[in-house]
């Protein structure tokens, strides 16, 4: 009788604990705004078990999938998880994002650098035109690429922040493969025309 009750309580406790941890994972991903690895998430829920953390994060993915919501939780290839807005909503609300977002030109230069990295700055200018100087400066400022001098050349490559931001692997080889796939998809379906709203927040 006694043991039965204990078991019952334990099962209930476990369910409670699972729900609590699920909420913590959700909170962590919301606040971070970048992909988090299982170690970091484990730290938040106070668990060293990678398996448990994965189980929780995957339950969260499933929860978001079932809700009708513009948000999604994704599992990246390197076992990291991220909460973000579904792409189809981007165009309509991007103006509200706090950080100034990059326009088309710098995004193209960024894509080119990511795909060709490590690449000499001069080559980027040759391929993208002189206005790419400005793009490069902007991208460096935003911490998306880094520029290192090698003799007279300047070598460009993307940063870890870039990989995290786009949910790509930090391993250059894997990242390039992922990028290739992304580009193929992007070129297949043209982006929906950006419906931009020019309104003042004031």
């Amino acid at each position: 009788m006694m043991s039965n009750k204990t078991e019952e309580v334990t099962a209930q406790d476990q369910e409670e604990k699972f729900k609590k941890d699920l909420a913590l994972i959700e909170a962590a991903l919301y606040v971070a705004g970048r992909p988090l690895d299982t170690k970091t998430l484990g730290y938040i829920v106070g668990s060293r078990s990678k398996k448990r953390v994965q189980q929780l994060a995957r339950a969260l993915i499933e929860k978001y999938r079932q809700l009708e919501t513009p948000l999604e939780v994704l599992e990246l290839e390197d076992e990291r998880f991220v909460l973000q807005l579904k792409t189809e909503f981007s165009a309509k609300v991007r103006k509200l994002a706090v950080r100034p977002l990059l326009s088309d030109g710098p995004l193209r230069t960024l894509a080119y650098i990511a795909y060709r990295q490590p690449i000499i700055q001069k080559q980027v200018i040759d391929a993208r035109g002189a206005h790419a100087y400005g793009h490069i400066r902007q991208l460096v400022e935003m911490g998306l690429i880094e520029r290192k001098s090698d003799g007279r050349n300047k070598i460009l490559r993307v940063t870890e922040f870039f990989s995290d931001y786009f949910g790509l692997s930090r391993d250059i080889k894997i990242m390039k493969r992922q990028l290739k796939r992304t580009f193929n998809e992007l070129m297949k379906k043209p982006l929906s025309s950006d419906e931009e709203y020019n309104f003042n927040e004031s």
């Binding site: 919301y30 606040v31 971070a32 705004g33 970048r34 991220v82 909460l83 973000q84 807005l85 792409t87 909503f89 981007s90 609300v93 991007r94 994002a97 706090v98 977002l101 990059l102 088309d104 995004l107 193209r108 960024l110 894509a111 080119y112 990511a114 795909y115 001069k122 200018i125 391929a127 993208r128 035109g129 002189a130 206005h131 100087y133 931001y165 786009f166 949910g167 990028l179 992304t182 580009f183 992007l186 070129m187 982006l191």
Partner: protein, 223 residues
């Protein structure tokens, strides 16, 4: 159509017919018309046939001036003869779409106040500097716009200068067309103005060759 009406004067036939058919003329790209060849061969043919026709000559001259007018109008619009086909074979990927994510930032009111402390300290420094030269400060409102413009011009000059040096380092002949290759019209005009500033500052020399629209650029002080 190919049958030639013998009663018609010779200059109604190709290639001279261009000069006598205004509608046809307007359809053509003026840069594709070799005027000196047309006019010289027209004169030769008249001489050969011994058919001196001043009316036809007058029309030919009129058409020639139309072609020149078309060319100069296009130049004014910065329209150029067709550019050489791009050598570009490199794969240029489409722009990456940035995922939108909310992110909690670390800046607190504490940070803001520390920043304020710093800003107020530098304000005092600037105020000290300013007080020694108060009587030479021009009227308010004039200076910031001009200095902002000049700062930007300085930046643009440096950018263009870098590009010129890069081209020269590659052993390429630096021309205006090379410098603005791939740029939009407005950017081309801007670059030209910046180039004039560089020349005015004696950092480059601009020169042209006869019979060429091209502007050549030489770096001053370069070996």
């Amino acid at each position: 159509m190919t049958e030639i009406n013998v009663n018609k004067p010779f200059y109604f036939r190709p290639p001279w017919n261009i000069l006598f058919d205004l509608q046809l003329l307007e359809k053509l790209n003026p840069w594709d018309i070799n005027l000196s060849f047309l006019l010289l061969s027209f004169l030769d043919e008249m001489e050969k046939r011994n058919e001196i026709d001043f009316r036809a000559s007058g029309m030919a001259l009129g058409s020639s001036s139309t072609v020149y007018l078309m060319k100069s109008e296009m130049l004014l619009e910065l329209e150029k003869a067709p550019l050489a086909p791009k050598l570009q074979s490199d794969f240029i990927p489409p722009p990456l779409v940035l995922p939108l994510r909310y992110e909690l930032t670390t800046t607190t009111i504490q940070n803001l106040l520390e920043a304020l402390d710093n800003a107020l300290k530098t304000e005092k420094l600037f105020a000290l500097k300013a007080s020694t030269s108060t009587d030479i400060i021009p009227p308010a409102g004039v200076i910031p716009t001009i200095s902002a413009y000049l700062i930007e011009m300085e930046e643009q000059m440096e950018r263009l200068m870098k590009k010129i040096i890069t081209l020269a380092d590659e052993g390429k002949l630096v021309t205006f067309s090379n410098l603005v290759h791939g740029l939009r019209k407005l950017e081309q005009i801007r670059s030209f103005i910046v180039l004039l500033f560089l020349a005015q500052k004696n950092r480059v020399t601009l020169w042209q060759e006869e019979n060429s629209d091209e502007v050549f650029v030489t770096i001053n002080g370069a070996q």
